[in-house]
């Protein structure tokens, strides 16, 4: 059976905000994968994060290397993944290490400020990460909740 990426999202609030917005149910994911090197080696935190979702939903916290190894590993079970990157730098590292997907979602800023250009919201380092990801053929877009419109235009400027 194959591994399918149902949603790839950059969200520093990690799993809590994503599950609270019902994303896993909207995209029919049965795996929530958090890519955050700072927590990947803490089994207690992984267990607490698993508590956000009932079985048979699975929650995993990986470093970038562990994440790439996980998606490349053959699985006998159907794995529909909701992938949450801690930040743009982690997402860029994953793409650099071979992570393939068609698009990556970023939640709108909490204040819903009008963003006319990337520098209105992202710092230089983040913009560099965005450009790197885009060069690999991956689109980026703003969307917070499942019924929000996808906003691609800022990223194409």
């Amino acid at each position: 059976m194959s591994t399918t990426i149902k949603l790839a999202r950059v969200d520093q609030r990690l799993l809590h905000a994503t599950v609270a917005l019902n994303w896993n149910q909207f995209v029919n994911a049965n795996y929530a994968v958090i890519v955050d090197p700072s927590y990947s080696n803490d089994p207690f935190i992984t267990r607490v994060m698993q508590l956000c979702l009932p079985e048979p939903m699975k929650v995993k916290i990986f470093s970038v290397e562990e994440f790439i190894a996980f998606i490349n590993k053959e699985s006998t079970a159907k794995r529909n993944l909701m992938v949450i990157f801690k930040n743009l730098d982690t997402a860029k590292e994953a793409v650099e290490a071979g992570f393939k997907t068609s698009e990556i979602q970023i939640p709108y800023p909490a204040s819903r400020i009008v963003i006319k250009k990337l520098s209105d919201f992202f710092n230089e380092e983040e913009i560099r990460c965005i450009r790197f990801i885009q060069k690999k053929g991956i689109k980026l877009f703003f969307q917070t909740a499942p019924l929000d419109n996808k906003e691609y235009s800022v990223f194409t400027k």
């Binding site: 799993l15 809590h16 599950v19 609270a20 019902n22 149910q25 909207f26 995209v27 029919n28 207690f44 935190i45 267990r47 607490v48 994060m49 698993q50 508590l51 956000c52 979702l53 009932p54 159907k78 529909n80 499942p146 019924l147």
Partner: protein
């Protein structure tokens, strides 16, 4: 109570880590569940949050559920207690959403049960359910009957309701292997675009997760009372037309076969059996194969001969023979062609009945 059940899972996880104690307090500050049973019933002043004793209000969807208490000497206590609070609130929200979804799906199940009750169409009850679900009763819908021989995952099917393109969807899992959807059609869609629309919708369902299924699509209906007809069309397809996995089958592509099948077999047999018996030795399999191929090729004899690897003259010879046996004009008249299709359908059905041992 949902929260107490969920909290037990949290207790189990925290008990694996001896550094912390976790408790659930009611609105008045009394412990109702705890990783250390001796604290149950104790009272805490929730305003008294200290370095090793944290209290947080559990508020989800504008409703208060009491307090979470986390205690320990660890330097990470604040971070861990926030994490436990966020996880508890997230889980509670998830379970509340799931419960509300289940209620909606149960209403869908009930609505479909009433829509498919041919014996007693209870319009008042149906309109009441439609009102509760917020479904537009004036929309045109089509039955999509999905068969999964390996069995559906009921939890996954429940989440169909959350797909953004499924706001007007009514559906029910009829049994472990059969799912019935009544999917609406956009009002401005041209008739010629309908099949394309449903192909795209089914492809989306497959991408979403419904792979390895067979999809049978019924007729369009704009009256609630006729939704059952669209469903019955799917059942007819299931019984009469070979179908494959992942490739949708549309009832509207088989209207001729459908109406032919509605003619009573005995009516046709009563007339034509005499001719068949008198002919003696007619190869019924060959006859039905030729009739079927002619029909598929719009009665083009050259094309049919090619498809059946026959010489054109051989085919004409056989057709002449059939014309003589049944006393019909296959090549020259429209009526003869329709009669050929009727006779072939009847004989095919009798062959099938004989093969399965039915008395004919």
């Amino acid at each position: 109570m949902m929260l107490v059940e969920i909290f037990k899972e949290f207790i189990r996880v925290v008990q694996e880590n001896q550094k912390y104690t976790i408790g659930l307090l009611n609105q008045d500050g009394y412990v109702i569940s705890c990783s250390k049973e001796e604290y149950i019933g104790c009272h805490f002043d929730i305003k008294d949050s200290r370095a090793n004793n944290m209290f947080y209000k559990i508020r989800v969807k504008n409703q208060d559920y009491g307090y979470i208490w986390v205690s320990g000497d660890d330097e990470n206590l604040k971070m861990i207690s926030r994490l436990l609070l966020d996880s508890l609130k997230t889980r509670l929200m998830y379970e509340i959403n799931t419960k509300s979804l289940k209620q909606k799906v149960t209403k869908d199940d009930e609505l479909i049960k009433y829509l498919l009750n041919a014996g007693h169409f209870d319009l008042n009850h149906i309109l009441d359910l439609i009102g509760q679900l917020g479904v537009d009763k004036s929309k045109t819908r089509v039955a999509v009957y999905i068969i999964n021989n390996k069995g559906f995952n009921a939890e996954e099917i429940m989440r169909l309701k959350l797909r953004p393109d499924s706001k007007e969807l009514i559906y029910s899992l009829l049994d472990n292997n059969r799912l019935l959807l009544f999917k609406d059609i956009p009002g401005d869609l041209e008739n010629a675009e309908v099949k394309k629309y449903y192909r795209k919708y089914i492809r989306n369902l497959q991408d979403w997760g419904l792979q390895g299924c067979s999809y049978l699509v019924g007729s369009m209906q704009n009256k609630l009372k006729r939704y059952i007809v669209s469903y019955q069309n799917c059942l007819w397809l299931e019984k009469n037309i070979p179908f494959s996995i992942d490739e949708p089958l549309f009832f509207t592509d088989y209207l001729f076969e459908y109406f032919i099948s509605k003619v009573q077999l005995d009516d046709v047999r009563n007339i034509f059996d005499f001719y068949k018996d008198r002919s003696k030795g007619i190869d019924i399999d060959e006859f039905t194969t030729i009739a079927n191929q002619l029909f598929m090729n719009d009665y083009n004899i050259t094309q049919t001969a090619d498809d059946l690897f026959l010489h054109k003259n051989t085919l004409i010879y056989k057709l002449k023979k059939y014309e003589e046996i049944f006393n019909i004009d296959i090549r020259g008249s429209f009526q003869g062609k329709v009669l050929l299709a009727l006779i072939a359908n009847t004989l095919r059905e009798y062959q099938r009945q004989k093969q399965v041992g039915e008395k004919v």
